[in-house]
Amino acid sequence: MAIADIHVAEDTHHEDHLDHEQSFVTKYIFSQDHKTIAKQFLITGIFWALMGGLMSLVFRLQLGFPEATLEWLRPIFGGWITESGKLEPEFYLAMVTMHGTIMVFFVLTAGLSGTFSNFLIPLQIGARDMASGFMNMLSYWFFFVSSVVMFISLFIETGPAMGGWVIYPPLSALPQAISGSGLGMTMWLIAMMFFIVSTMLGGINYITTIINLRTRGMSFTRLPLTIWAFFLTAILGLLSFPVLVAAVLLLIFDRSFGTSFYLSDIYIGGEALPNSGGSPILFQHLFWFLGHPEVYIVILPALGITSEIISTNSRKPIFGYKAMIGSLMAIAILSFVVWAHHMFITGMNPFLGSVFMLLTFIIAVPSAIKVFNYITTLWRGNIIFTPAMLFSIGLVSFFITGGVTGIFLGSAALDIQLHDTYFVVAHFHIVMGSAAFFGMVAGVYHWFPKMFGRMMDARLGYIHFWMSFVGVYSVFFPMHYIGIAGFPRRYYSFTNFDAFNSYADLNALITIAAFITMSAQFIFLFNFFYSIFRGRKTPQNPWNSNTLEWTAPINPEHGNWPGEIPTVYRWPYDYSKPGAKEDFIPQNIPFSETPESNFPNETESIKLQGIDKGDAIIVDETEE
């Protein structure tokens, strides 16, 4: 009882503290409220998604229409357009590099985890805020600083980083090798350091909050799958990003202090560099030890969001709740022991290759369990096709399509042919890029009412969905064929090679599809910003959902619930429970209020407690 008393005292103190008037700066800029920070992450993420998307159009133009003149882009790109109206080859590489960096880290890590972990964790577990609002605020502002540095690097004379988003040395280590490896690369490294600090601060906060600040009754087996996904994502980040720090730090020393961790026996223009004894493969090991968990950091939150949306809109409990948690955990653990499948052709010991191949194939099992459970949740449900639901189903479709090609690439023998071709590009853009992006967009459509108190327009949502869905498949599906034919990725031009001329029309088609897909995103942007101010006012629980966030006021203040935090009595997936009055029973409804729908064991559990403790409990409860 003493413990409970302290907590009550703490809670009231907390509310007092939050009540006083806040200035514009503390409320909207240096805010410590998890909801505002989530929106800051979302808006920044959308900005970066727009930048990254537009960059992809620039290099798609080059790939699809190599003969076209890009003179009309000169007002924007200036000297990066050559005299003959072509894209400077180095600038093409810069665009590819920045597109990858921005999308993987700034959009699908910070924009996705940052938005939804921040927004949903306190609201869904029943907490007033994150464990440390201050650290949370720092997390955003470190991300902001990182964004500013990365953004400035786009405009410097030598250009931004050009060595690919994986920044393999020696290319990224030697400014003599490519102009982007000068100042641009330095800024890339600085920006990433800030980014990692931001991710660490966020991740520590997410884990601490989920473990320590759950409301009464919110056991781990009653957590929504979104929270499980965010939790495991944060753990992955916490374990893998320090390794990137190590990799980046050594690269910084190589670049700026003359050490030889990654550099050895390099000749430039016939002259030998002094570095000797380094190993570029070492960088790949360190990088991919982060890099592979990173792709799960990107996809797991999207899978969590999808679980929640599919269950809610199928009006059915999620199929295999514990199997979902188990497969999330299995993916999280396995993600740390498969990194070398990115390095099959680096001259690795073939025996080691087959070990990593086996481990990689094992990941197919939990992934397939998840997909199976999504489909069985949909099976014979009373499906409501909201835009969020469509995007979630789209995610499942991408996850299957991209997952199948993953089995090709995971095989060390096939990878010799497919490595570094457009097949790889197609694979990860579908399974990780588009799937995670669809999960993020689904989350925005689903939780927009909670974020801004208004609804997004569903009809524009449907147009957005169909254009994106068809668009993504028309962009990335043909890339499989181009890849099997042997087109290497990151090449500026294919017209110089007779062998690759035959696919010029397919490349043009991809570019046109990319433009259509991108134009659909402007519908979303309009819908998003218009609805913030002019959207239809939302009801309390627009999707008839079970989770706790819908019990909070429509526009929650700092502190989330004005009175006491609701208590949780059941798991979050009691949809269409036989006998129930409505087709959903929120988590904060006790079993004793729903005798008509309780399963025998649930009725039993209430009775048992009654017999065991008798009247004494009544006194306890009123005290609290």
Partner: protein, 193 residues
Amino acid sequence: MVRDLQIVEEPRRPVSMDPKKFALWLFIVTIIMLFAAFTSAYIVRQAEGNWLDFSLPTIFYWNTGILLLSSVTMQWAYNSAKRDDLKNIKTAISLTIVLGICFLISQIFGWGMLVDAGVFFVGNPSGSFMYIFTGLHGVHLISGIFFIIMVLIATVKYNVHSKNILLIEMCNTYWHFLNALWVYLFIFLLLNR
């Protein structure tokens, strides 16, 4: 009837730990991962050959002792805080700070001895790794010393006592961890030369 049933259904408050203490442990996990990455990189690189062999500076044996002693004084400070022995807290904490700074200075002497032995930061990765390990550990140790100074200031303001133990407890944990980290690095370097 329904009302009665509702009352007997008492949900349990989830088990939880102090969030700050928990966050500190997570921070420690990130440092462990950072050094795990470096030491693994060391082993991977060493296995490739072309590796400069040299013996560790003898001062490392001595300053490991200094650091272990500072762990003892830190624990002494923490125990004194639990017993509300304010005078001893101040003495023990000040001693810990002095020992910590002594260790850092002796690390710099250690670097001097490495240079004298012809092992430079720029050169064979074998030597570079040596400087990275000691340097990064030193940076973390400086953060630990700042933490202890914070505790010392709090102690002077009578904010550290048996009823307000969290700060010094976290400091104690962090300092022990940093010392254990050095012992790990030292043994690692001894075994993998």
